[in-house]
């Protein structure tokens, strides 16, 4: 099922055939939605028996959802055919979080879902990668996040300052361009000092587009520390 970003512009190519032996001038409307909203119109001529692809530049609906697609064709002001596409069009933001990133002690580790930090002394920055899987820019992307203990009853006195448990906007609205690499978003929560008590934390992330939340995601991790590692061990450990 084709999926497009809201308000993005795409081209529909409709292959049409005139089954008659004489040529006619036609006007075709490409409609979307149950209300048959006209999204694009094309005028064309088909000779007798001719098969021709006809392009429609369609500005997609601004509201997410699933839209049936219809073609209505007139000749001389009279409707000569109405057709329903076999596939609906889905209007959605094709935005996803593809990595959570953690930078600790100057090293970056990717793909940290379900990863424990129990052997590391300090986490300095957290972040993730946003990827636009569509084909057009997504404007007005904003990101909010918060970190909170999974079990609020556990002691927090080691943390100074205490974690901010309210959603915090960590990036000004930006435009996310399509592409495999995506955009890394970092935020500077800091866990100062040595944490000797294992505590499970949850990182909540909300992605909004033009102020409307489109993704909520979370990552749980255990943050604690053991005594510093021997000097001979360095680099990125394996898990």
């Amino acid at each position: 099922m084709p999926q497009f970003a809201p308000s993005s512009v795409h081209r529909a190519t409709v292959t049409l055939t005139n089954p008659k032996t004489a040529g006619f001038d036609y006007v075709a409307d490409l409609c979307m939605g149950a209300e048959w909203t006209v999204m694009a119109t094309a005028s064309f001529h088909l000779a007798g028996g001719e098969l021709k692809p006809v392009d429609f530049q369609v500005s997609m609906p601004s509201v997410t959802g699933t839209y049936p697609v219809f073609i209505r064709i007139l000749c001389g002001g009279v409707v000569v055919g109405t057709f329903t596409a076999t596939e609906d069009v889905v209007i959605a933001y094709s935005i996803e979080i593809i990595n959570f990133l953690v930078i600790y002690n100057g090293y970056m580790v990717r793909d940290l879902w379900d990863m424990n930090f129990e052997q590391y002394s300090k986490v300095t920055h957290l972040g993730f990668t946003l990827r636009n899987g569509g084909t057009s820019d997504i404007r007005g992307v904003s990101v909010k996040a918060r970190i909170t203990p999974l079990f609020p009853g556990q002691p927090l006195q080691e943390l100074s300052p205490p974690l901010d448990e309210s959603l915090r906007q960590i990036a000004q609205p930006f435009t996310l361009e399509p592409g495999r690499a995506g955009k890394d978003i970092f935020f500077d929560y800091r866990f100062p000092g040595i944490i000797f008590t294992e505590t499970t934390y949850v990182l909540y992330v909300e992605i909004a587009i033009l102020g409307k939340t489109v993704i909520t995601d979370s990552l749980s991790f255990i943050l604690a520390a053991r005594p510093p590692l021997p000097p001979s061990i360095s680099g990125i450990p394996s898990f």
Binding site: R11, T13, L16, T21, A22, G23, F24
Partner: protein, 138 residues
């Protein structure tokens, strides 16, 4: 559909061997490639029975048989009359609409006796249509 009379004028030949009393058909406006029947009432003015072959065709000029009923054989007794049906498939068009003269030839043993032409042409048209075979998105 209501039948209407189609007046036929003699184009060539003689009415000594055969006469057309009446010609009827549907409203002379037809969709291309549809079959319609014209009914002709002939009389034999001779004093003996006569064998005839008649052909009704649509065309732009005499002899231009764009669409024809084919030869219809029939016999009319001396002084008698006979109604003959001519079934014609309306022409295939390459333009949305066109008009054709209606000709009627009557022969006897291969000899052309008379040719009639209708005073009114037949109008033929195509109802537009279209098919959608595929929709792709870029």
């Amino acid at each position: 559909m209501k039948e209407m009379e189609l007046k036929m004028n003699k184009l060539s030949g003689s009415e000594d061997e055969v006469r057309i009393e009446k010609m009827t058909m549907e409203d002379p406006s037809f969709e291309s490639e549809t079959v319609h029947v014209a009914h002709a009432l002939f009389t034999n003015p001779k004093t003996s029975s006569f064998d005839y072959t008649a052909e009704l065709y649509l065309g732009k000029v005499v002899g231009n048989k764009v669409s024809t009923s084919g030869a219809i054989n029939f016999t009319i007794l001396a002084g008698g009359s006979k109604s003959v049906d001519f079934s014609v498939n309306m022409p295939v068009l390459t333009i949305p609409d066109d008009a054709f003269h209606v000709y009627l030839e009557v022969k006897h043993l291969g000899t052309l006796l008379i040719t009639f032409v209708a005073t009114e042409d037949v109008a033929v048209y195509i109802i537009p249509a279209i098919k959608v075979t595929q929709i792709t998105w870029d």
